[in-house]
Symmetry: C2
Subunit: 391 residues, 2 copies
């Protein structure tokens, strides 16, 4: 039986370098004072900073700059940004950077309209019903945050990493220029690609559903990432590879693929706890956890799905038994993450030992907000066991 849903993805996407000429008119639509949040020096070296300043002159709007953004964005920085944004009376936010910049901007877009501590908003103690309009220019293909309403914010004091999802935080417009990603390092390209892959895999395995069509799209996304991520790592300015990764990133996580089912992720929440404790790169954490998690959920029910994924996304021989297809599917994902993407395969190599795993698993299973993926309801012991396999 199908599940009822509302599809509502209104983000306008300008794809390609020539479309950047529309930036000024998009900003001006929403007002004459923009909160310009950007990360790192590359915003300047890539010419995006100048582009914004030029647009401000042509379209006559004021720019309030803010560039306090760190990986795994902190609630304290968001607080500072929201206060500044409110104080200056900005009408629209422009975020330039990776997932951390865009996620910060989303939390600021909501918090600027509320008179409450940011962490209370993130924790859901203060409801978000509206947000300032947001325009984004992502500079890496990874989180896909540029076309959805979700943000992940960290509290380093409490070692918490929380997701804040609100429809009003979905960007109104997004400029995707694959050329901006030519200079993304091999390591960051690898981490971003694993993130896109994992968004797709989590959705695919989150529960059974009626929409076979969406399964075929997810299989297509897996094929796309596995085909182009190695190309982008080898040839950073391969435009076909960069364009496919850049367009795949938002579609893996803009809600389209998950509208028709209960979709409770598991790998991401586990990784969020790990990076809240050890501050490692998100995609790297996923590369380590994902294969172990997948091996953990093999059972009679999931085997059918492994079979379909293996055959349609990885071209595995359909004459093999289900179990063999599942094992080969996971082996290929491992090989992609650890060999092709050259990412670390074990926590110990990152200096992470198992001493906090019990506490982490406890947090995950106690938390109200965290419900477990459809294929296997994880106990605290399950999570500890998955994490130990990652050592």
């Amino acid at each position: 039986m199908f599940q009822d849903f509302i599809y509502d993805i209104g983000t306008k996407v300008y794809f390609g370098p020539e479309m950047l000429c529309h930036l000024g008119e998009e900003i001006k639509k929403y007002g004459d004072k923009v909160f310009f949040l950007y990360k790192g020096s590359y915003t300047k070296t890539m010419g995006i900073y100048d582009l914004v300043m030029q647009a401000a002159e042509t379209y006559d709007f004021e720019v309030v700059e803010f560039s306090k953004v760190q990986p795994n964005p902190r609630h304290t920085d968001v607080q500072e940004g929201a206060d500044l944004c409110r104080e200056k009376g900005c009408k629209v936010i422009l975020a330039v950077g990776g997932g951390s910049a865009i996620d910060s901007a989303k939390a600021i877009a909501s918090a600027a309209l509320l008179d409450a501590p940011v962490w209370d908003i993130v924790m859901g103690k203060v409801p978000v019903t509206e947000s300032l309009p947001l325009i984004t220019i992502p500079t890496v293909a990874a989180t896909g945050s540029e076309m959805n309403g979700g943000a992940v914010i960290s509290n380093l004091e409490t070692r918490d990493k929380q997701s804040l999802r609100r429809p009003s935080q979905r960007p109104r417009a997004t400029f995707l220029n694959p050329q901006y990603t030519y200079s993304v390092s091999k390591y960051q390209t690898a981490c971003g690609s694993v993130d896109i892959l994992c968004h797709t895999i989590e959705t695919y395995f989150s529960s059974d559903n009626c929409m076979y069509m969406l399964d075929t799209f997810m299989e297509g996304l897996v094929r796309t990432v596995l085909k182009y991520a190695p190309v982008a790592c080898r040839e950073p300015d391969n435009d076909e590879a960069r364009a496919n990764l850049m367009w795949a990133a938002p579609w893996a996580i803009n809600d389209f693929l998950r509208y028709d089912k209960e979709c409770n992720w598991t790998i991401h929440p586990i990784e969020h706890e790990i990076s809240a404790y050890y501050d490692i790169t998100h995609g790297l954490g996923l590369a380590i956890i994902m294969p172990r998690y997948l091996r953990h959920i093999i059972d009679e029910k999931s085997l059918k799905r492994f079979r379909r994924l293996g055959i349609h996304a990885l071209g595995i021989d359909d004459r093999l038994e289900d179990e063999a297809i599942a094992q080969e599917t996971i082996r290929r994902i491992e090989s992609f993450c650890w060999d092709e993407m050259e990412l670390e395969s074990h926590f110990l190599a990152l200096g992470i030992d198992g001493r906090d795993f019990d506490e982490i698993a406890g947090k995950l299973t106690e938390e109200d907000g965290f419900r477990y993926g459809g294929y296997r309801r994880l106990s605290k012991e399950d999570i500890v066991s998955i994490l130990k396999e990652c050592l």
Copy 2:
């Protein structure tokens, strides 16, 4: 090299019967007088008519009814509708029915705001820059008109069938209720499914492109239609089959799949001429023409694409030679259209002989608006030859 594009698909989709409760609020958003265009008695028997009247009472808006809609919608009916809509001062249009109802409503939405003959608007002599907001409730999974800005209108006097595509004609909201399609006849289900398949195939073969990701989605759409159309024909109330077909229809033609490339269709324009001359069901015409057209465009360049489609969408053995895969792909599409969907495979059986083919091919190749698909630039002789193979 990728092509720049703007993705702008803002249609809000309410999927499933429970979502129909939002109809009134959606209409009221745009004003207090709705032009209610519907087709056929099934609007009443299925309860949609009562639903609209109830919403009108609850949300306090006025309803202007219009139900002059025929298959291959006529410009004369559209003229009448546009005049009535303008005269009554309607602020929003609600269209209930199949592709002909929705296409009529789009042309009315544009023509109601212009003081010009409808056919001049359709022929592009009068520019369309704005249209009345449109809300749709399709009752069949087929044309996918419910999520794009295109309409096809016929002029029976001149035996012309023209496409009118305007961004302002894209519906603001669409209600997709698979249950409304349970009563669609086997024949109409077959014709609609072939239409969805053909939209996908035309886009797939319209030209080479950089966006492999979109190719994988198209292969997924083909898999979806081939899997579920036979189920829907056998078991009209199979909710999984109806839901997949209903969600596949708009995605096959809402522009997402074609944004990154020159996309000039060929099978559809040929079929439009055929049905302008002989007034046959659109999907039936496509079922006859599509396989012949595909066989006609086999060449060194298209073989690679046939290979990919055959392997990924049809599961054809990848150890076969390209030519064999192409032939088998076409054979499977024939078998789908003619055996599984039980549609007629030859024009002669419909009483169509070849006497007008020369004139039809002449019209197609003379027309300014018609440019030929990417894989093979068709001459007048090519078109005549394809049509003769259909006899």
